[in-house]
Structure formats: C-alpha cells, structure tokens
Amino acid sequence: MVDETILREKAREVLARDDVRRLIGWKRGTYGYESAPAVLKDASQADELIFDPTCVQNPASFITLEEKLPVPRGQDPDTRKVAVLVKGCDSRAVVQQLVEKAYTRDGVIVLGVPCTGVVDRRKAQKMFGDTSEPVMIKEEGDKFVFIIDGETREGPRAELLADKCVRCRFPNPLVYDELVADEVAVWGADEFADVDEFEKMSPPEKWKFWEEQFSKCIRCYSCRNVCPMCYCLECVVTKQKPQWTRRSTDVSENTAYHIQRAWHLSGRCIECGECERVCPVDIPITTLNRKMTRDVKELFSYEPGVDVEAEPLLSCYNPQDPEEYIM
C-alpha cells in the first residue's frame, strides 16, 4: 500500500531540485471514478498528488508530448529533467520509450509506485452508476471501498479491477530511480486467454464483429493521443504525401486506420490499455493489439517494454528470424 505522505514528500524533494523542470503524476479528478493527470512545476504543489485505485492513467504518455515552444531571444532552452510517477504497467512504457531512444535515461527521473491494481471506470459505473462528484476508492482486502457522493459503497476487487490488472505480471516498476513504497507480490499471469477466446470466432464472424466495432469509430484519435508509444512528430494518419488513410469516417477508412495502428504498435505495445480506456465509443482496441503482442512473442520471442537494453523489434535484423509468413 502506498503512503501518500511519503509519495508527496519524495515528489517535493524531486521538484525542489534545480535540475528538474516538472513532475508528472496523478491528482484527484473532477468527477467520477478516475483521477486526473497532474503536471507539477513547483514543490509547493506536491500536496495535490494522490495514489489510489483511481490512478488508472499512464503518466508516461505525457513525457514525450511536451511541445518545444520557441525560446525567446537571449534565453537558453530549458533542458532540465522531467520527473514521472509510474506504476508497474506505466514503467513498461518508459522502458520502451528508452529502447526507442525517445529520450535519454539521464533526461528523466522515474519514481516507481508499486501498485496492487486500479479500478475499471466502466465496471464501477455498471455496479454503482454515474456521479458528477469525484469518487474516493480504497482497497481493503479483496474489496474496494468507494465513497460516492458522501455514501460508502463496497464491491469485490476481482470484479472491479481493470482487465490489465487482472493479468498483471509487472505490478512493480521495471525501471525507476526510486520506489515510493515497498514492492508488492505478483498475482497475475497472462496466457492470452482473451485472444484465444476471440480466435474461436470464424473469419466471417470476426469480420462482422470488427465491422460493427469500426463503424462506431468517430476517428477522434483519442486512442492515438493517449498512447505512450504514439509520439511521432508527424503521425502517419495526418500525412498527405502519400495519404495512407483518408479522413472520412466510413467503415473502410476506419478499418484501415485501426489495422494501421495495430501494425505500428506491433512489437511496441506495452499493454497499458489506455487506448481502450479513453475510447468514447467502447471499441475493444486492446484485443487487436494483444493479438499482435502474442504473435510477436511467439514468432520472435520478443516482449516490448521489459528490457532497457533491448533493440526495437522492427529496427533490428536477425538472420534466424522466422520467415514462413513471407513465403
């Protein structure tokens, strides 16, 4: 269990450093079952930070998002470090970003937060309904205790955990400069049961399923924007020359977009589930990504986001790589 006083104390220390520009973490949300991401610039703001089962967001998404604003004449660019709080799953994004040299290890300070699982907003809404006030959640044994609109409610942990937490193999951060709490025991295992289940469908059934899902897509690109691995300076979907996908939201272009995104994340997706979480029309995006993840694992024995020393799968060549799928 994370002691928020210690968390804030550590954050304060880091923010007080001369070589730190900002710290990314979580703060209380404005409504509902999720916290909000916090970007702090000053040690005095550290008390805003929280960590509890509402902290579902992946703060690593924000590290690469910072816009490089014009530097006024006569001033030096701000090259100070960025500090970030990460759960185990979030830390895989940091690992993969380091593997892809999105930034250098020296450029970030990683505060690791061992995590025992977060609540899935959709599951909670189903159980307790919506609210316009921020909900407080605490974990107590095998239950989550909610305070919703001043009322205390309870629900079983197993039914409320986010899917990614149910199969979580990395509750403890894989990369960090400092941990803010003691490491926790691993409870999950991942046998890709969901992918197996999905693959039981026949090709026409699958096609029908995805056609239905993709026809809902409004191409808001929330999934891309929230993805910690989508940080190209110019995204392929906005490229005009050549134009890979048209901007119209019909099922054909939507399908092209989602397949493209799945391919671009193959060997890179670290399964934080953010894409699916933010989808306003509830498309099960992680199912696509997890199929790719399993293929990559089976074909190349490669798992992204676990080894800082690894090379990116698609940028390295091994003569022993299987080629059956080419011919």
């Binding site: 490089k68 014009p70 530097v71 892809e100 300076l233 050549p242 698609l314």
Partner: protein, 676 residues
C-alpha cells in the same frame, strides 16, 4: 522540366529471344500505349544496342518526351546505359524508369499468356511511378590523389607499387612487423618452382624505399570516415619498444634476450623459435627489431632478470626503449585498397586427421617452413626434433591429403580453395627432390590443375613416382603406442578400385585450405564491406566489377576477396591499382544522386538509421528549432548508396531514398495490387 506534363515513352525490348520468346512484346506495346501519360510505345530487338538507344534519343528530341520507360532487363544491368542515353538527349537521367520483364518475368515463367499479362502489369507499374519521378542532380566531388593500402602481402605490395609508380602517394599499413605476408613464408611456388623469397624480396624492398610510399608496419587502421575521394583514416602505429631510427638490425639484442629460442615463431608456423625481441625472418622489411609486449618479461612482468633487460644492455645503438607508446597518425586519402589476405584453415577443426595429436601430421604451411632453406631445419624435412631443435628423423613414407577444410560442408567451407591441389603437387615434388627414395602418396578428391602450366606440372609430378590415390581419408591414427615408432595409419577408400585401404606413412601433410581472416569482422565494420556466403569480401559484381566493393573508392585485392594463387593475386592487385588510379588520375568523381534524404521536421533524432546504415553515411547533428537544440539525422550524400536500410529502420518515416519515396512506390503497388 518536372513541372511539365509527363509525356512518357515506353520501349519494350525483345532482348533477342530472351524476352520475345516468352512475352508477347507487341501486345505489351499495345497495352502500354493505352496507359495515361504514354505518348509513344515502341518495341525493339535490342534496346541497349546503338540503334535501340538512338530510337529513344530521336523520340526525346522530336516528340518532346520527358519520361522514359525501358521494359527490358534488371536495372542492375542497363540502368546506367539508359541513364546515359537520356543525358545525351538532354533529359535528366533520373527521368528513366526500368520495368524488369526479363529476370523477373520471361526468364522465370513458362506460361506465355500469364507472362505477357505480368509484363503488362510491370510496365503499367513503371508508368505509375514515372508520373511522379523527380529530376535529381548528381554531385561532383574532388578526389584526394592518394591511396591507402591495407595489408602488405603480395597483393598490397603490388597494388602500392603500381600506384606509386604512376606518381601518386600511397600509404601502406601492415599489421605485423614486416611486409611480405604469407608469400614470404612459402618455399617454392608452383608450377615454375621459382623461389618465393627470390621473387618477393625485391618488391618488399621497393615498397619500403619508394619515394611515393609511406610504409607503416606494425600498424593498424583504427578508424575510417569520409567518402570516395575524401577518406580520413586514423592509424595506430603500435609501439615496437625499439627506436627504428636507431636500430641497425644487427640482432645482438635477440641473441641476448633471456627468452632467446624459447618463444614459438609465428613466421615459422611455431616450428622454429624466436626471442621476445625479434625480427620475424631474416629478410624482413623493415629490418628493425620489435619487442613482443605479451612475451617480453620486462613489459609483461615489469622485471627482466636481476640486472634488467639484457637486450637494452646489449644494443650498442641504444635503440631499445621500454617507454615507447603507440602513436596515432591521421591521413587523408582518395581511395582505399583492402588487401588483408587470408588465414589458413585451422587443422584442429578436422580432429580425424589428428593434427593436434601427432607431431608428424603437419599442415601445408608448416611444410613450407620445414622445407624452406631459411626455415628452422635449414630445408631438411626433419620431424621429431627435440625442444632445442636437435635430432629428428627424415620421413620415408609421406602422405598428402587434399581438401582439408575446403569443399567440406561439415566445417562450413563449401568452396574450393584453388591453391591446395597445386601446392600439394609442388610439395610432393619437393619431397621427391630432397628424399629420392621416399614413398609418396597423394590422397585426392579431384585434381584441379586449371591454370597455365598446372596440368603439365601435375603430370610431371606423377611421372616422378608420386602415387595419386583417389579417396578422401576418413581417419589418421598411430599404428602403436611406441614413442619411437612414428608410423601412422591413413584410413581411406580408393574410390577408383573400391578398395578400403589402411596405408602406413610416417609423415602426413594436410592440404589445408584458405579461409577468411579470423578478424574479418573488424575490417568489415571499419570499411563497411559486405561478405559473400563463403565469408570472403564481396565484390560489387562477380564478373564485371571484381575488384570494386559496394562502397565507392574502396577496392579489393588478393585473397581477402576469395582464395587465389600468386599470379591471380598479382593480377587482381594490378586491377585494383588501376581502378584506384582511374579515380586518382581524373581527380573528380560523380556521386550517386539516388540517395536518402531526411525530413528533419519529422525526425526525432533516435539514431536508428545511423546504426543500420551499412555505409556510415548518416550522422546525428544539432538542429536549432526556434531556440531548442534537437538532434536530427543528416545524410552524407557522397557516402549514401540509396540502399534504403534507413527508411526501413525509421520508426517515424522521416528518412527515405530519393526515387524510392513512399509516394512513388505506392502507386506502383496500387497498380500491381489490382486484379485484372
């Protein structure tokens, strides 16, 4: 020019009957003329011929064509030809697109109708790309009039001498303390039986004394950067611990060395002994002594006897200097010749021949030292000498085994080493010469006596009473455990009589093959070379560019490119020298215009392109984005070959080769992807 509307000319080649007998060329022409943008479509028997090229030129001039498609062979074959044609007609040569309907169509398909359909598609795809081709400008760079030669065996020596004789500066870098390479270890050379040293040593002296040659022995290339015409190399001159300006080569130091005669001599293939301060062989060039830092007591242990190093004391010239340090030298050169040579096959990898176990099983190269007049036995093929090099016996029944480590998949070498058949014949002759009574048997798979005078020599050796038995021995073992009995049994099947033999011999010479050097990887990394499947360096084209590499300005000479004998090595060295001289003498070189370019606004500076570039053509540089300093990739256009590895590695799609941009390839794929 690019702003004008595309007016495309399509020329479909029959290539004699190479294409015409499979593909219906008139049908392809008719199809092509219906495609958008195509103004003219023609066929011709040989497009690459003079009349064929004139057809294109005429059309460009009279009909105002501004894009040309030649549907014929692989662009590797004739793209340069037709680019020249366009240039001569006043059109930018990069407005050419080739459709390969020979290698990728007529040669590989039997069904004529389908092959014709495919040829149409390939032409249509070429038209789709031609519509979006861009004019590219070739750049011209100056060539520094000098050459760096790596390796001073016979190949390096010959190449260096030729360029130096033409009047240009040559830097020769040799890893070992002396020039000469493997050839200096050989006794006689086949088939003429010239003394190897007699024909080599004058050249060794020349290379050291030539006013245009700067010889750096006991040196290694540490780093190379730059591009054709403008290479910069850093060379490490390793410390000899002997002041070469003072050393007179008298040899008193070696006589006084505490380890004199106790260190196996590399030059003598460990049959002879040397001191820790040594001259590899008497005719070494330069005739300057070198201290082996790993063996020298003073250098490795910090202490040599009670009175200090005896060599330093004995040297009247005061040349020994234990304080000497490696020296780094930077040089600039326009061309590079890689002549790094080979390693002989390690006979220990064929344990069935027991080379590691028995002193009287020796390799061909050991045999050379054993029969050399300057070798440790003074030319007598003495075996079984004691540690002091005394005693020993002369063999009476000698066996030679062919193809040890060549033509042998089990050791990974499928190739023929090209020299073993003949050197074993020569060695059999030498044994006959030195031991007229000896019984000599050669075990062979085939005898490949292909060169000038080879067959005659092989015939002569057989007439001298050397028995050739066709069979590949399976095992060599000792007849009994008695240390005084040197008899070995060679187990073999005579495949001509189908008889299993167990022949007795008291000396077995293994015809070890030639292999890529053990440190070949370092050289590859240094010069960005590529390897053929056999592990030797790959030439740019196996037939038409045998001394060039894929990197412009870098040439190959000698056995580093593949096994060859001395005359072939010399010929190739002269070829490499003349190729280098073409660049040096003309002083200018055009560099490839189909190079990669970076869209720096999309580049996030991860540097994966830098890592994968086989030519070292990309570097990360600082870019000022409104006051923020960011890293972006920059392509050195003189080094880039347009291979596209960078584009494949780039996660952001920020780097692409010109003429193979996504927006140029996609229309092609779109055409090919549509079913008809």
């Amino acid at each position: 020019m690019s702003s004008r509307r595309p007016k495309i000319g399509v020329y479909v080649c029959h290539c004699g009957i190479n294409i015409g007998s499979v593909v219906d060329v008139p049908a392809v022409v008719e199809y092509a003329s219906s495609l958008p943008g195509v103004a003219i479509a023609r066929e011709y028997t040989y497009m690459c011929s003079d009349p064929g090229q004139n057809l294109v030129k005429e059309d460009i001039k009279t009909s105002g064509l501004n894009r040309v498609i030649v549907a014929s062979c692989s662009p590797r074959m004739h793209e340069p030809t037709f680019r020249k044609t366009l240039k001569e007609a006043g059109l930018n040569p990069y407005f050419l697109e080739m459709a390969n309907i020979r290698e990728q169509c007529s040669w590989v398909h039997e069904d004529h109708a389908e092959a014709t359909e495919k040829a149409k598609k390939l032409v249509e795809a070429a038209v789709a790309k031609a519509l979006v081709l861009e004019a590219l400008e070739e750049k011209e760079v100056d060539v520094i009039p000098s050459c760096l030669v790596i390796g001073a065996g016979i190949a390096g020596i010959q190449a260096a001498l030729d360029i130096a004789d033409a009047g240009f500066k040559v830097y020769v870098v040799e890893k070992t303390p002396s020039v000469g390479g493997h050839m200096s270890q050989l006794d006689k050379t086949f088939p003429t039986l010239d003394c190897s040293a007699c024909i080599l040593t004058p050249k060794m002296v020349d290379v050291a004394n030539h006013p245009n040659i700067e010889l750096m022995t006991y040196s290694q290339v540490e780093a190379v950067e730059g591009y054709v015409g403008n290479f910069k190399a850093t060379i490490r001159k390793k410390a000899r611990y002997v002041d070469v300006s003072k050393c007179t080569g008298c040899g008193v130091c070696a006589e006084n060395c505490r380890l004199a005669g106790r260190i196996p001599s590399e030059f003598d293939e460990n049959i002879g002994m040397r001191s820790a301060i040594y001259l590899p062989f008497p005719q070494a060039v330069p005739a300057k002594y070198t201290i082996d830092p790993e063996r020298c007591l003073q250098l490795s242990k910090g202490k040599c006897g009670k009175e200090g190093p005896a060599c330093a004391e004995a040297c009247t010239a005061g040349a020994v200097n234990f304080e000497q340090e490696d020296e780094l030298v930077d040089i600039e050169c326009g061309t590079i010749i890689v002549a790094t040579g080979y390693d002989v096959f390690d006979a220990a990898r064929k344990p069935e021949y027991a080379w590691s176990d028995y002193a009287n099983v020796i390799t061909g190269l050991e045999f050379e030292r054993l029969v050399s007049a300057s070798g440790p036995t003074g030319g007598k093929p003495l075996l079984g000498r004691d540690k002091k090099g005394e005693g020993g016996y002369l063999p009476q029944k000698v066996a030679f085994i062919h193809c040890v480590g060549s033509r042998d998949k089990s050791v990974g070498n499928e190739y023929c080493s090209r020299v073993c058949c003949m050197y074993l014949a020569k060695q059999a002759h030498l044994i006959r010469d030195k031991l007229p009574e000896a019984d000599i048997t050669v075990y062979y798979m085939d005898v490949r006596a292909f060169g000038k005078g080879f067959e005659e020599f092989y015939d002569r050796v057989r007439r001298e009473g050397v028995r050739y038995v066709r069979g590949n021995p399976s095992e060599v073992f000792k007849k009994n455990a008695d240390p005084e009995d040197h008899t070995l049994i060679v187990k073999v099947e005579d495949t001509l009589t189908a008889q299993a033999l167990e022949a007795e011999h008291d000396m077995v010479v293994l015809g070890v093959g030639l292999e890529p050097r053990h440190d070949v990887r370092e050289i590859i990394d240094l010069f960005k070379l590529s390897q053929s499947t056999d592990g030797f360096f790959m030439e740019a084209h196996p037939k038409l560019r045998p001394v060039d590499t894929a990197s412009d300005g870098i040439f190959l000479a000698g056995c580093c490119q593949g096994p060859k004998d001395i005359p072939d090595t010399v010929a190739q060295a002269k070829g490499a020298a003349s190729s280098a001289l073409i660049l040096i003498a003309s002083g200018k070189v055009n560099v490839e215009a189909q190079v990669s370019f970076v869209t720096s606004s999309e580049c996030r500076g991860c540097g994966f392109c830098v890592e994968v570039c086989p030519f070292g053509a990309i570097e990360l540089v600082d870019e000022n984005r409104m006051g923020n300093i960011v890293k972006v990739a920059l392509v050195n256009e003189a080094l880039c070959k347009g291979c596209g590895s960078c584009a494949a590695a780039c996660l952001s799609g920020a780097i692409q080769p010109r003429s193979f941009k996504d927006e140029q390839i996609l229309p092609q794929i779109a055409v090919l992807g549509v079913r008809t």
